[in-house]
């Protein structure tokens, strides 16, 4: 174990301690503060669990999580099966479309669906025009709308993990059941599905945790009685009412606890239940079936249905972005570029901020992430597993927890929050796992003997890394870089707590335009712009990694 590795480890731990452990402990400490006094105690928590309103928000969130998981599972199983098992034309396009919501910001979806499914939205107006209904149907405002929006946003995670499961099952497990006389459906229920549970669970936990993180969707849909939303309202709207602020922090800590606990539980369970070790020699393609004409048509219809729902997001936002005064009409009738002029010419600061902050966060990410990946994969420095664990844990932390804790921790003491540098730092901390996981997995695939050969030839460790490892890792690292940028680019949950006048990013701009009741068109234009930029970045990833599929499959987590 070289001195260099130890120094590197110390540096990485310093960063983690300063930007993860320290602020999060401040957050927890703050939740024990009692308003109006200088003392600490568990009163806040006692109150939370005795107050019927807070208990209700907790229960509501659990119910919402269960409903979202149920919906995504019911819709996801057939979808994943079709994508993984059927030999069909256009599979790549459909896969890319269905997985699109992973890279679209959640708020973009909500806005699009409000415009389309709202009280006097396109769907209602069209239905009334053809006389199917007399009065508007409430498609979207309420629990059902919330479940719909969140489920569509999280569907890709279930589809991804399940189709990975379906593909990775050794074909002979199912063939054995076939030989033993089990019919298709029975085989699916007794062999295929149970064998998929570990991979299903990996996706399901991310889906289940989303309602514990997503404060924005419920608020936009007028549903605030959920844990993250109430936390946001308590902290952001009542910053001067110390008691409500502390109760908000308690809500943040509680939802973070739920997230971390379930995340770890799922990881532990998946680790325990992994069946893959038992089989050898699976084909890369897995089992592929040529479906009958009827099944083929039905599955096409089903995929088209989901794809249309997904496509509504960019299409509706596009319509709204290029128009004005789109009210009480199924489609806009006044086309204009005013919205874009407003963003691009009058307030270019937002776009500039978004790029600067995400870009800086990205540089931090690479500077931290590459050495971290090296340390975790290639050395035996003590504590490297703990480092890996800490960084992975950031996947489960709600963005709000990071935002609030930064606000509390970097105000006095270490006054970073008074400078705009806090924005890229927060984005870096929050999105770090995306880059690290990509670098990590490509590092694992790099044969160590390639590096050893360089060292044996008399080249030092650092130069070996620069000359041999980095060029070979480049592809994976570049994909990680772009993915990191995409995720940092659309981040809102953390940034919303930290921005001050002049530091607004595009996502914050979208939120503010909605929130202050200003021009809806401008918010739509911003969201549309973000989708376009995201799409361009995705195309870049696809170019690098050789396929739109891989590009969409790369990321994970929220």
């Amino acid at each position: 174990m070289s001195r260099g590795n130890l120094a590197l480890s110390a540096f990485l731990w310093f960063v983690i301690a300063l930007f993860v452990i320290y602020p999060l402990s401040i957050l927890v400490l703050e939740s024990f503060k009692i308003a109006g006094t200088d003392t600490r105690g568990i009163q806040n928590y006692l109150e939370f669990f005795q107050d019927t309103y807070y208990l209700k928000t907790f229960a509501n969130t659990l119910v919402l999580s269960a409903l979202v998981l149920l919906t995504t599972t019911l819709f996801g199983i057939p979808l994943a099966y079709i994508l993984a098992r059927y030999r069909q034309r256009g599979k790549t396009v459909f896969t890319a479309l269905i997985l699109l919501p992973i890279v679209l910001p959640a708020y973009a979806g909500v806005f699009a669906f409000i415009i389309f499914f709202g009280k006097y939205g396109t769907a209602n107006l069209l239905l009334m025009e053809i006389g199917l209904i007399q009065t508007p149907v409430n498609f979207i405002y309420g629990l059902h709308g919330l479940v719909f929006v969140q489920a569509l946003h999280m569907l890709p995670f279930i589809v991804l993990s399940l189709s990975a499961g379906f593909t990775n099952i050794d074909p002979s497990f199912e063939e054995a059941a076939e030989v033993e006389g089990a019919s298709g459906f029975r085989r699916f229920c007794t062999v295929t599905l149970p064998l998929c549970t570990p991979s299903y669970l990996a996706g399901a936990v991310i889906v289940f945790l989303w309602p514990f993180t997503d404060w924005l969707t419920p608020m936009i849909l007028g549903q605030v009685d959920f844990l993250p939303s109430i936390a946001y309202i308590n902290i952001a709207y009542h910053f001067t009412d110390m008691h409500r602020k502390y109760m908000g922090i308690v809500a943040v800590v509680l939802s973070s606890t739920v997230c971390i606990a379930l995340f770890l539980l799922a990881r532990w369970w998946v680790e325990k239940k992994k069946y893959t070790g038992l089989s050898k020699g699976t084909t890369s393609e897995g089992r592929v079936i040529e479906p009958s004409l009827l099944i083929k048509s039905v599955s096409y219809l089903y995929m088209i249905f989901i794809a249309i729902l997904v496509l509504l997001i960019p299409v509706v936002l596009g319509l709204a972005a290029f128009s004005r005064r789109w009210v009480f009409e199924p489609f806009p009738d006044y086309w204009t570029l005013d919205n874009f002029r407003a963003i691009l010419v009058e307030t270019p600061l937002l776009i500039q901020n978004t790029f600067v902050f995400s870009g800086l966060a990205l540089i931090f990410g690479v500077v931290f992430g590459l050495p971290a990946a090296y340390l975790i994969v290639r050395t035996r420095v003590p504590g490297k597993d703990a480092l890996d664990f800490m960084i992975t844990l950031m996947l489960a932390f709600p963005g709000m927890a990071v935002g609030v804790s930064y606000l509390l921790a970097f105000w006095q003491g270490i006054p970073l929050a008074t400078h705009w540098i806090i924005m890229p730092i927060a984005l870096f901390t929050r999105r770090l796992p995306y880059f690290l996981r990509m670098a990590h997995s490509s590092y694992l695939q790099l044969d160590v003997s390639l590096e050893e050969a360089s060292e044996v030839s008399g080249v030092g460790k650092f130069r070996t890394f620069m000359n041999i490892s980095l060029p070979l890792l480049l592809k994976g690292v570049l994909v990680g870089v772009v993915m990191f940028f995409v995720m940092a680019f659309q981040e809102i949950s953390t940034a919303i707590f930290l921005y001050r006048g002049g530091w607004e990013t595009l996502p914050i701009g979208i939120f503010l335009n909605w929130h202050r009741g200003m021009e809806f068109g401008i918010a739509a234009a911003m969201a549309f712009l973000m989708i376009v930029i995201t799409f361009i970045l995705l195309l870049i990833i696809a170019r690098i990694s050789g396929g739109i599929l891989k590009a969409a499959w790369g990321p994970g987590g929220t």
Binding site: S172, E175, V179, G181, K280
Partner: protein, 359 residues
């Protein structure tokens, strides 16, 4: 009529022909082995019999019933049991559940399931492990679970796809005999796929040697070894010295052929299966164990040559001599009691009855 008949079977994957119009018959109660290098089409043939692959042409008849041409019969309705290469023992089910799965599908009463499971677990020697999960079993035990599962429905045909290839060498040898005696005792018609020639020799009543989608030879193990049909079979089964040459003369009314080779003197060989004529390019072929070695020339010995011992390889129960003669390397299998050193000159001779001509 044979119990399984394969007629003109043809299977193609995209542009690669896996099975090229082959014909085979398996008699009732017989253990037939499909033997060949990887990619020769043996597993595809087996999977076609099982119904796991749909052939692109030809017919398979099991016990008098058509499986292909009169409507494709699903694997579940073919009355077969199958043991997979990686066992395919379902990891989320206990041993008992794995074994009775096929019966449970038929909704038989629980008593019957338990009785049958008891019997078949007795047969494979897994009593008392019913409640274990596969991950708690050794490779050999998982193998037995797979076997029990394949046998519990009293299949008409047992198909085994390289069932021993994932076991370690010692266990593999033990299981060969167990499987053989088990199948013999139960009298099941079985088809066994392997790439291990020793395994094929031990286990089968008849062996089918396959290469590149074609059947090269069918016969009893000793026929395949002693009378290989061509160079591929001779090379794949055991070791063989191939000495290139051409037929010098074919004496009438005789079982012998003389072959001109680079060794100098003509070699007297046994007549092969194919007709031979003077001038034909052939290989005089002899197995290393049929090459005898001596320090001094043996008087009036046929097929005797002088060479230099280039290299000795110690293989435990015997030695391999690599003897150089005119830049041809002849392999001879000799016992421990020989005394020659590398570089020594020595004499060796081929038994004319064991010397074959192969094209």
């Amino acid at each position: 009529m044979a119990f399984i008949e394969i007629k003109d079977l043809f299977k193609r994957f995209k542009k690669v022909t896996a099975v090229n119009h082959i014909n085979l018959e398996v008699q009732q109660g017989e253990m037939l082995t499909l033997l060949g290098p990887s990619g020769c089409g043996k597993t595809t043939t087996l999977r076609c019999i099982a119904g796991l692959e749909k052939p692109d042409g030809g017919e398979i008849i099991i016990d008098g019933k058509s499986m292909i041409t009169q409507g494709f019969v699903q694997p579940s309705n073919r009355g077969i049991g199958m043991v997979f290469q990686n066992y395919a023992v379902w990891p989320h089910m206990k041993v008992y559940q794995n074994v009775v799965y096929g019966l449970k599908v038929q909704n038989l009463p629980r008593r019957t399931l338990q009785e049958k499971a008891q019997q078949v677990l007795d047969v494979v020697g897994l009593n008392g492990l019913e409640d274990r999960y596969p991950s708690q079993l050794s490779g050999g035990q998982q193998q037995r679970v797979a076997l029990a599962r394949a046998l519990i429905r009293n299949p008409k045909v047992l198909l085994l796809d390289e069932p021993l290839s994932n076991l370690d060498a010692k266990l593999r040898e033990k299981m060969r005999f167990e499987i053989k005696s088990l199948v013999r005792r139960m009298g099941i018609t079985s088809v066994y796929v392997t790439h291990d020639q020793a395994e094929a020799m031990v286990i089968s009543d008849r062996v089918v040697v396959m290469n590149a989608g074609n059947v090269e030879q069918v016969g009893k193990p000793e026929e395949i070894y002693d009378q290989p049909a061509n160079r591929f079979v001779a090379d794949f089964i055991g070791a063989m010295n191939f000495i290139p040459g051409e037929v010098a003369e074919v004496p009438k009314d005789s079982e012998t052929v003389y072959v001109h080779t680079v060794l100098g003197k003509k070699i007297r060989c046994r007549k092969g299966l194919d007709p031979a004529a003077a001038g034909l390019k052939v290989f005089a072929s002899i197995r290393p164990e049929d090459v005898a070695v001596a320090e001094r020339p043996v008087p009036e010995m046929e097929n005797q040559f002088k060479g230099v011992l280039a290299h000795k390889a110690y293989l435990g129960n015997f030695l391999y001599y690599f003897i150089n003669i005119n830049d041809i390397m002849i392999r001879a299998q000799v016992s421990h009691h020989v005394t020659q050193e590398e570089g020594d000159e020595l004499y060796f001779y081929f038994n004319p009855d064991k010397c074959l001509i192969l094209s």
